[in-house]
């Protein structure tokens, strides 16, 4: 039998029972589609997080007060008190490091904001002029905090877009006086809407000079210092310099934690990557089920086509030919199923992207290939037994059966 004959035999067998073929393809495609959609979801989540972090600025170092021997970023280091404050002067001193480009101190707290009888709870961020550039935010209206001495507590505030809408509606906010806690501040700008982000949502934030925030919350310590290295390559040396400066300022004791964004990002990347992999694995179980189905149907096909096989054998087809013919059928079915599943999966991923525009839900290449490969391998593997059974049939008995 020529390959063309084998192929014709296989396709004719498949088209001879359209409903059965359709069902097998459906089963295969459900499995492949599940793998594609789920990995798209998982990888989309991973990409979303990575993007969010890169939006923070790619060569960022974060200095937080307090340090635990066990290291890492635990619940305990999220917010804690230390006997020695991390001060604005500490932050300013970091600018002396050769590999540090910019710094911005952060003080965070909750307060009440009031304007024209409207009152609500709000998150107050005390920081400096460089914050805008380090985080890569843009102004919607007016100016950001003025570039001035870090210890000067000017009575100015910048509002997040949503907060501004809630307080002022269509009124113009810039130039108005608002009350935050027990202070009266002049609104000098409104941030451009940045949408939902990781951690802080700037749309609902009040930004004030760091000294103003410290006075408001009656504290000396900073919540974080964000440090921008000169370049990505300088990240490691900048981290060392930051640690050195802090150690000198603290009589040789390093009671701060310095984390680079890469470390945090790497953790997230690994967790979400493993999650995607696990989910894909679970979905792949359905491919095994589909494989069992293929085997089942192929076995039935062998029984049904016993006479045909007998005839082929009588005409001189070898066992090998028959085996190939059946394997080809199984492979064709799996391939069709896998392709249909791929289309279905991409459709699902597209639906996901429509439903959740923030999520870049594209199935990763490895998942597409793995899904396709597993489907075809499963189909062929489960086709082996029926094919062998067909090949082993005795020609005379097979013909006599009818």
């Amino acid at each position: 039998m020529t390959p063309a004959d084998t192929l014709r035999f296989a396709t004719r067998a498949a088209t001879g029972y359209p409903l059965r073929t359709a069902l097998m393809i459906l089963a295969m495609s459900i499995g492949v589609a599940a793998v594609v959609v789920l990995t798209a979801l998982g990888d989309g989540a991973r990409r979303y997080v990575v993007n969010e972090f890169s939006a923070l600025g790619s060569n960022l170092i974060i200095v937080l007060p307090g340090r635990s021997e066990t290291g890492g970023v635990g619940l305990g280091s999220l917010f804690t008190s230390t006997p020695r404050d991390l001060t604005v002067r500490d932050a300013a001193a970091l600018l002396r490091a050769p590999d540090v480009q910019r710094i911005t101190p952060l003080t965070l707290g909750n307060s009440e904001i009031a304007y024209g009888g409207r009152l609500r709870e709000v998150l107050v961020l005390g920081t400096s002029a460089d914050y805008l550039d380090i985080r890569g935010y843009r102004m919607g209206l007016g100016h950001f905090l003025p570039r001035e001495d870090l210890e000067r507590a000017s009575s100015v505030a910048v509002l997040g877009a949503t907060l501004c809408d809630e307080l002022f509606g269509i009124e113009s906010a810039v130039g108005r006086m608002i009350r935050v806690g027990d202070r009266r501040l002049r609104v000098i700008g409104v941030l451009e809407k940045s949408g939902q982000g990781l951690g802080m949502n700037t749309d609902e934030l009040v930004v004030v000079p760091v000294a103003t925030a410290q006075a408001m919350f009656n504290t000396n310590t900073l919540f974080r210092v964000m440090v921008e290295a000169r370049s990505r390559d300088a990240l490691a040396s900048a981290q060392r310099q930051v640690e050195d400066i802090m150690r000198t300022r603290r009589d040789g004791e390093l009671d701060i934690t310095v984390i680079t964004q890469d470390a945090v990002l790497g953790t997230f990347d690994r967790i979400l990557g493993a999650l995607t992999f696990a989910v894909a694995g679970i979905a792949a179980i359905s491919l095994a089920v589909a494989g069992i189905l293929v085997m089942n149907v192929m076995l039935v096909a062998v029984t049904q086509r016993t006479a045909e096989i007998g005839l082929l054998k009588a005409l001189g087809a070898t066992g090998r030919n028959i085996r190939f013919a059946f394997l080809a059928e199984a492979a064709l079915l799996s391939l069709a199923g896998a392709l249909a599943g791929l289309a279905l999966g991409h459709l699902g991923a597209w639906g996901l992207r429509l439903a959740f525009p923030v999520l870049p839900a594209w199935p990763p290449d490895w998942a597409v290939y793995a899904g396709l490969g597993t489907a075809i391998v499963t189909g062929v593997l489960f086709g082996v037994m029926p094919a062998r059974r067909a090949a082993r049939l005795d020609a005379v008995q097979a013909l006599a059966k009818r």
């Binding site: 021997e69 006997p83 998150l123 049904q304």
Partner: protein
């Protein structure tokens, strides 16, 4: 047709195609096993987390400064709202429903003793803390109920911190320095292990008033309150809220009961289990397609048998029932096999990962089996209807 005939017919067709039936069973079985295994792991995780959270006792209410509603930001942020003071804490302790109370301030300092230095978490707590959080003192005793104004400089060490600083030597009565101040060790806590990645043994407990001075703070980070098991949490919470509102002149605290927190946690974990179960359900759906395929084949194979039955006077409903019965039987047996396999695998996982108390939720088992049977029914409908609609004359002539 009598029930016995009915069963016999369905069973005979199953037995006649042993391999085929077996493979169909296997398809459904793998699906069900996947669902059961995954939900078992999900449920195990659920119980593990709940147990972690309840190890500190269940009748605890947490009082934190600031009204809830401020968005974002980690807990413990400074706020312009009125702070919780030691006086507030003392007033709460005097409430009739309250059985125990501890004010909490925590921070991070360098601890030095016997020539060794270690950075660790320092907790400023009240004398009731060990009882409140069901923690045990290993050696010595816990902090005495001193007057906050004159709290003595005593410290109780976590088991790991004691080992790191003093090794196997006796620590009781030793002096150590925390952030430059001198403290005397009066107790060492029993091992408690980790809680959500935080080492509970690498800590030192000092009187709250001392911690406030150490960290130069005015207000407490939180106050934890216990109440009698029999009292409803809401009543206690209401009493605390009323008391603090009266003291502060406005309602400016957040109360979290353990019940609220556990319920919230439980909800999230339930969703997780359901989601994972649904994932496994995909393979169950594929198994269902398998049943449709096999039943369709069976109908076309047995066309003349059906024709004969109809010609002999069998009603359409009987034919329909016959094929449906076969599909359901396949699904039900496959489901049962899958249940066994899934539960067995779950137990195996439980043996391999002792930290995860795998448990097969029995209501899920019932749901899965019912699902399998439903899939059988659903999958059987199409072929069975096809069989029932066959024209007897045509069917008989088909061969």
């Amino acid at each position: 047709m009598s029930l016995a005939d009915f069963l016999q017919l369905a069973l005979r067709s199953l037995v006649a195609h042993r391999l085929r039936s077996f493979l169909t069973l296997l398809g459904i079985g793998v699906g069900i096993a996947a669902v059961i295994l995954l939900t078992s792991i999900g449920e195990g995780l659920h119980q593990f987390v709940l147990k972690e959270f309840t190890q500190f006792g269940t009748n605890i209410i947490q009082v934190t400064p600031g009204r809830q509603g401020a968005r974002g930001g980690p807990p413990g942020l400074p706020s312009t709202t009125r702070e919780l003071t030691l006086d507030d804490a003392a007033a709460i302790a005097r409430l009739p429903l309250v059985t125990g109370m501890t004010p909490i301030v925590h921070g991070n300092s360098e601890v030095s003793a016997a020539g060794r230095v270690r950075r660790t978490s320092i907790y400023g707590v009240g004398a009731d803390m060990d009882r409140l959080f069901s923690m045990r003192v290993g050696i010595g005793r816990f902090l005495p109920p001193d007057d906050p104004a004159g709290a003595r400089a005593f410290v109780v060490l976590g088991a790991k911190l004691k080992r790191e600083l003093f090794g196997n030597a006796n620590a009781l009565g030793e002096r150590l320095r925390i952030g430059g101040e001198r403290y005397r060790v009066i107790g060492v806590m029993a091992e408690k292990g980790q809680f959500l990645g935080v080492d509970l043994d690498d800590t030192a407990y000092i009187p709250t008033a001392r911690a406030l001075a150490l960290y130069n703070r005015e207000g407490l980070m939180e106050i934890d309150v216990t109440y009698a098991e029999t009292t409803p949490a809401a009543a206690v919470a209401e009493a605390i809220r009323a008391l603090l509102a009266a003291r502060h002149g406005q309602d400016d605290v957040t109360l979290t009961t353990q019940e609220d927190m556990l319920a919230r946690l439980s909800n999230i974990l339930d969703i997780l289990t359901a989601a994972v179960g649904a994932l496994g359900g995909i393979s169950l759906a594929v198994g269902g397609v398998g049943i449709v395929t096999i039943m369709t084949i069976a109908v076309s194979e047995r066309t003349n048998e059906i024709g004969l039955l109809v010609a002999l006077g069998a009603r359409r409903a009987t034919i329909l029932g016959l094929f449906l019965g076969e599909a359901v039987a396949l699904a039900a047996i496959g489901g049962a096999l899958g249940l066994l396999a899934g539960a067995g695998l779950a137990q195996l996982v439980g043996l391999l990962v002792p930290a995860l108390p795998v448990s097969t939720p029995w209501h899920f088992v019932v749901v899965a089996e019912v699902l399998a049977i439903a899939i059988g029914l659903l999958a059987g409908v199409l072929p069975a209807r096809k069989a029932a609609r066959l024209d007897p004359v045509e069917a008989l002539r088909a061969e």
